[in-house]
Subunit: 585 residues, 2 copies
């Protein structure tokens, strides 16, 4: 037994007890013949005291302790003369009697504190030390609590946690699969699941009725910052449900998590169609912690000789409350911001609606103050507000204005990470046109139920306007979950596969088992999957998922700590019936 | 909303309510102008009634329902005239008002009942139907309950569930890794974890103190019946612990699971050294639901002219209580049984200790009744018992006698699947000699703490007798968990790697990160992993794990339902920088 108590446990009611503690040396201070050691573990910090005048040998040993040494001590708990109200254990200290170094430590390559001096690369290489930092440690502990609370909520609703296989079949479309060569089946490969989609649907066919799993998924995509090749989903499916049942169940989950983990009462979860979200916020995941919805201005700005607007498909603006005092320099900077390649706008039109009621714009040459006033009125602007207007192709302009809206929200402090607003986005398109591959792709996935079921009379020109029984749950402008009501009839599934350009043979080869299952009594069903890494990050008040994953990979998909991936040996190649096509140096 | 209640919910207090139910048609019976339909879902079965004289259209529709059709009905709950006490819902039935077929079903290829007419191959191909069978469904539900109870127990002890990566580094030794070619890192591969061993040790170095995970693991081994390429572990690790802490914690887990899931009170968990287990039961996982421990007879049987015994390294026997009446035919059959190649004994010596006190053996030519009596006494036999004796090389004889003991236990009904006896086997060897590769392997794994730490003076001839801080937990003769106290010092870890014949360079390349971590303040730590599939099967009273896994693979590692593994296309090969060495037909 290495300890009788943890370093976070002792209080004044333990005074006079002899205790044994183990932990890490956080710091050592020498002060007038006394040595004070802060001993740390996951549970807290306890102060150890050594007195040179009483036990010089022990005190000398304590003076030799370095940061992050692992030690075991015994001693007597006593009340501190000068208490530390910052620490739960701050009322007591240990009058140390014995000290044993369990393991020495080299000086860490960065400080083990919330604000560390270590850069990203160093922190990743020594992730086991990075994980000792209080901030990262509390993220990982919060993730544990989130997982447990998720299960509590779902278990109470009679959901069953059922494990699905990781070694499945490669059916590439959309994202790339990671594949695993089979030694026992030469020339054949398993794939790692991008999600347990077909298996959870089969579980509904099997009658399990309500399924969930907190499960690892894999996508071999080109990595952007904050996208990981392996990620975790809260994956759920329900039988005999309509959309409303799914929405109620899972906004309930989010509400439960916010209450349990953050003590936060999530109000109403609003709902918005995909079309409205795009029209009003230029995004399928609007941040509705603040307003600043778009106003479309085509009818009041066209026909006044300003060719930029006259030639534009869409002219739309946002109203930045109380920003009429923006200086020319600020406005120029904002214009540069929207013209950055990441945003891609050609320019920015502004109208200052001054507190005295006058209007000043960047297009005064073309528009009279009265005309500008009609814009302001249409945008519900008040004196003191600033109108920011973009124009061009509809889709692009919406996207650009959406980015500008988020940026203004950030600059105006309207995106408080401790406030949470959730939104259902509904009625997504069924199909989207893939310019690169010149084909229609499923917006959600090919198992999504279309809102129209009779495609015979629908011309391909209208396919883009077909809508699906698909829904996304957004939190603070992030998509945290997405799902749909599924197809449960073979004939309808075949039709959708054919819309996606899949031949009958290909459909059978890839998904024959699922279409077969639909013929043996498949119930209506639907479900959802939460991105667990992102949900943890957002609820933790962070944008980056990296520090909510114990052992993340870098942007090249590498784990620099263990140095993976790495070459394999010739015997492995031979046994797996594969060869590399890379010239070995 | 497809239903107001489930098919397992209605009781007499619902009488006169109008309800909506959805489910599967279990069976349709026509009886004197009435049609009775058993409607089934995961929660139960409810009887629907249709009356030809009241609503002939509806009743005719009901008569056309086939097995496994998915239907939705509305109707009024009424008390049955002839109740069915077998069913929780057996007091009521539904006076059906409307019937809607949600999905028709083809006739299933086998019956959806506990005792099905479907063979293994058919059941696996249509696993989604097999999973509807009550027996299989209840196994999967029990597995869910086991997972939740495991988490409850560990959460209460401040364990944290922390996810570790699935895409890691290949460090083959012992079992083969499954590998995953990296597209972004040409010529390099990830490996799927055989266990999260090194990561959980790093979590201890990080100070998380108590970790667990119910996690998928992967081993690319030649498949025996009942071994799956992917399997699930309850994986656990604790810091600042000695062996006793780990044993107490995890026999507590088993006790909790048996109580929660089976209502079973596990008594004391006994303990036995590996050496004793081998000497007394010929197994490192003895089934101690019954006695029949070995007695070694060398000193009483040698030197009487029976060369089989005189030349044998070990002569040992078991005493089968009340089996003296075994006929010659039974004994011949038992002799044939031990001589089967799977057992491999050369022969079987028996001694009948008759109820009248006389003794009759197969070696009466060499031994007098008085001599036989000393054997019986040494084996604590009573009149009426049967002594069964094997001889030969020590290890082989123990193994053979162990098999015979289990077989006799089975024949005598001493292995009751509803009785549970757990045993810790302790002090396993550190190393074992691998005849094939002519090298020493770690018995448990290379991170296991040796009981001896100074190897300098130990001759290789004694390496086989080195003992490790390793332990196995056995339940009813199955190893359900194994673990060890780990090495936490770099120097000791380097020594053990070198005992295993690993060069310094190789050790650094494979496990440099771990040895590095040991230098930055690694606490003493240890842990354990439970085989979750097997634990579920044994607690479910079954020997086979297959029906406790929702989607298992067959003995060739194939999922015959989805037809995986399967070929991948040329683009995938190209992107992954690999080629197949198999001639494509």
């Amino acid at each position: 037994m290495y300890r009788t108590h943890t370093c976070g446990q002792l209080r004044t009611n333990h005074v006079a007890q002899t205790v044994t503690l183990s932990g890490w040396v956080q710091r050592v201070r020498q002060l007038g013949g006394m040595t004070f050691v802060d001993l740390r573990d996951r549970y807290g910090i306890t102060q150890l005291v050594f007195d040179m005048s009483i036990n010089p040998t022990l005190c000398t040993a304590a003076n030799k302790l370095g940061r992050e040494f692992v030690v075991q001590v015994t001693g007597i708990v006593r009340e501190r003369s000068s208490k530390n109200p910052q620490l739960p254990t701050g009322d007591v200290e240990i009058d140390t009697q014995t000290l044993q170094v369990l393991n020495a430590a080299k000086t860490p390559p960065f400080t083990i504190e919330t604000d560390t001096d270590g850069g990203d690369d160093l922190r990743m290489k020594y992730r086991y030390l990075d994980l000792r930092r209080p901030g990262v440690q509390s993220n990982i502990i919060m993730r544990h609590q989130m997982a447990q609370a998720t299960r509590q909520y779902l278990n109470n609703l009679a959901f069953l946690e059922i494990e699905t296989p990781f070694l499945i079949k490669s059916t590439p479309e959309g994202a790339r699969d990671f594949v695993v060569p089979s030694r026992l089946n030469p020339g054949q490969f398993y794939a790692l699941p991008q999600s347990p989609q077909t298996f959870k649907q089969l579980l509904m066919v099997s009658g399990f009725d309500r399924y969930y799993q907190i499960v690892r998924c894999f996508r071999d995509e080109d990595l952007r910052s904050d996208r990981q090749p392996e990620f975790t989903q809260i994956d759920c499916e329900m039988a005999f449900v309509e959309r409303e049942d799914v929405l109620q169940t899972f906004e309930g989950l989010l509400r439960y998590l916010l209450k349990e983990i953050k003590g936060y009462d999530l109000g109403t979860v609003e709902r918005m169609s995909y079309d409205d979200a795009m029209r009003l916020y230029g995004s399928d995941k609007p941040d509705i912690r603040f307003g600043m919805a778009f106003t479309e201005l085509n009818e009041v700005v066209k026909g006044h000789g300003f060719s930029v607007f006259d030639d534009a498909e869409l002219i739309a603006g946002i109203c930045a409350t109380n920003c009429a005092d923006y200086t020319r320099k600020q406005l120029d900077e904002l214009t540069d911001w929207v013209k950055r390649p990441q945003i891609g706008a050609k320019g920015l039109v502004y109208v200052r609606y001054n507190p005295d009621g006058t209007l000043k714009s960047s297009v005064d040459k073309f528009y009279s103050p009265d005309q500008l006033l009609t814009w302001a009125q249409k945008m519900n602007a008040q004196p003191g507000d600033l109108l920011l207007i973009l124009s061009g192709n509809t889709d692009k302009t919406r996207k650009q204005l959406g980015e500008l809206r988020l940026e203004m929200g950030k600059r105006l402090g309207l995106r408080n990470p401790n406030e949470f607003k959730a939104l259902w986005v509904l009625d997504f398109p069924l199909l989207e046109w893939d310019e690169e591959d010149q084909r229609w792709n499923a917006c959600h996935h090919p198992f999504t139920r279309p809102r129209t079921q009779n495609f015979e009379n629908i011309n391909e020109s209208e396919w883009g306007s077909l809508r699906a029984e698909a829904y996304d749950l957004c939190l603070n402008g992030n998509e945290i979950a997405g799902g749909s009501i599924r197809i449960h009839e073979r004939a309808l599934q075949e039709k959708v596969f054919s819309l996606l350009g899949m031949s009958e043979e290909e459909a059978l080869q890839k998904f024959g088992f699922l279409m077969g299952a639909f013929e043996y009594g498949a119930p209506p069903h639907g479900g959802i999957a939460f991105g667990f890494d992102r949900l943890c990050a957002i609820m933790g008040g962070h944008e980056s998922i990296r520090d909510f994953i114990a052992f993340p990979k870098n942007n090249s998909g590498r784990d620099t700590m263990i140095d993976a991936p790495s070459p394999i040996d010739a015997k492995q190649y031979r046994e797996l019936h594969i060869a590399t096509t890379i010239q070995q140096v």
